[in-house]
Amino acid sequence: MSNALEKYLRLKLDPDKVEATLRIDPGFEVDDVTPESLRAFLDSKAISQQAIDSDAIAELAKSACENADSEEFQEAVVARGTPVEHGLDGRFDFAPHVELLRDQIERRAKAAKNRRFKDQEEAVTAGDNGNGVVDDEYAINFYDDSSFIVVRKGEPIGRIEPPTPGVDGVDVSGNAIAARQGQSADIKIGAGTTETSSGVISAVAGKLSYDAGEIRVDDTLDIQGSVDFSTGNIKFPGDVIIHKGVRDKFEVNAQGNVRIDDLVEAATIRTASDLTLRGGMAGRGSGEIDVQRVAAARYLDGVVGRVGGDLCVEREISNCNLLIAKRIESPNCTIRGGEVRVGRRIEVAQIGGEGEIETGVVLGVIPELEDLCEPLSKIVNLVVTRHSEAQIELDELKQADSKSAAISEKLTEVTFDISSTETHASEIRSRLQTITGSNSTQHLATLVARRAIYPGVTIWMSGWKITLNDTLKGPVVIDLSPEGEVQYTPLGSDGPSKPLAGVAMIVSDDRVPRLTAIDEKLAAVA
């Protein structure tokens, strides 16, 4: 290579030195530019033989000579090393279904931002697929679409991907380029999760969260605000604590205990365990509770529903329609308006109020038999009536002089009717005894009013309907005498008990049928 050529040649390296570009400026002597002279130049610049691209050099030399008269320079990449592959950092990859939910929650949060919901219709957005195109699949229902992810116990959550070491490279001079090692993911496998060979799974059912590098599942759902459009309806497998209230038309459905610190409006609250309403509930006739165990509330107004255990209310149960399987134990509470049906015992301060407020109290209800009692009574009456009719018919046929074929067949028919009704009565009786065996609570049904029971109040208990004529001042206990008559006794006194008939109108009524009476009817047939 002549020195004359060298001044027209320039070699450029990329920052990683894995690519060399040779440039030939105009003005050179054509005879000086050959593949060999160019290769000699690269040698002088310590470019490794392994990196040199001979074809590119030959092509560049040819092109330069052919365009020697041009004012433009000629250049080509003439040597290549091996690029370095740096290691990848470790990371947490969510399971695909969790990723989808995260995406949905993110879209929900974006759509909810600065949004003011004026009515229920606005609670469903038109779908937008992110490109301004309406797509129902992307619609958001602010009631039904959750604002958090709930996972089952043992559900896959994701996987921690480890860092990779990377692959070293070689520059155009043949020097090694060290790959950078990836960093471990800064992920903490938190409470409620466990790492297995197949990835991270939930150790409990609950709410999945990923915050400050920690993945955790909480079996208690703690909502700092209210259940409203910001949260959507709540459906949770564990305990739920709501630090504010629950707005109209929203639903809370929990497998564990539910505690709500502020007002519950006309919402629906269901729990497979206990319910505590610290702020009370103003249901306006459509608010609903369904509690499998014990419920406690500051007050209940316009609420419908049922409680599987006891109910304790601090202040007032007003205009509610409630079925309480066991007891209302609320010595300072007033029941005013509406109707409460209770299995065993009511202890309250007052029932009804001044102005003859219509208030119904049904005592001795067995919830399991609530829907069954009326049809059962009807069926029993039918069976008993048919048995008695058939018996009369049989007697008449037996007294008939004629023993014609027709009479013989009729006798068979009537005998069969009697036999069938006896079998039915026996079956019903046996099943009734099975059902009531563990529920024979009617004789234990007791009502305690510490202050008063007012006119306008109607009490049903064990076959009786009791309408108060005058205010019955407390503290007083109303229950059944051993003979099944309604009586009252001043609370705390040893008696004597007085028949309630003196202060109330008492008539026989099947609203709470006396099961013993049904059984007695059946016994006469079976």
């Binding site: 014609s404 074929a405 013989s408 067949e409 009729k410 006798l411 068979t412 028919e413 005998t415 069969f416 036999s419 069938s420």
Partner: protein
């Protein structure tokens, strides 16, 4: 086990059906007279038959005689108001295995069915 009931009275058939069901027989074919029964019995192949005597079109006795021409073993119980001894003997000669006089009680019918099947070596209900 398959049972055929032959009686022109639907009420009587229902009563017998009810007793049969209580005894555990659920596969029951009904016929309203002897001729109706003849047309069904070949395909149904009952394990035993309850047959009334007095029926229109073909009475029970005629049915029993015709049936016994081809089937000597399937138990037949006559359920009838015909209580005279001579009639009972006539039916037994024709081939019935047992006899139930109307009026009967469900218990009596059950008892007759069981004793007939036991005697014929047919396993009961």
């Amino acid at each position: 086990m398959k049972v055929m009931l032959i009686d022109d009275s639907k009420t009587m058939r229902n009563i017998q059906k009810s007793v049969l069901k209580q005894l555990g027989y659920t596969e029951i074919e009904e016929a309203q007279d002897g001729q109706d029964a003849m047309s069904k019995v070949g395909a149904f192949k009952p394990d035993f038959i309850l047959v009334d005597w007095n029926m229109p079109v073909m009475d029970g006795l005629t049915f029993v005689k015709k049936f016994r021409q081809t089937d000597k073993t399937t138990p037949l119980i006559m359920v009838t108001t015909e209580a005279e001894k001579s009639r009972v003997i006539e039916a037994i000669k024709a081939g019935v295995n047992n006899y139930v006089v109307k009026p009967f009680t469900p218990d009596l019918l059950s008892q007759r069915i069981n004793e007939t099947l036991t005697k014929a070596g047919v396993p009961t209900g």
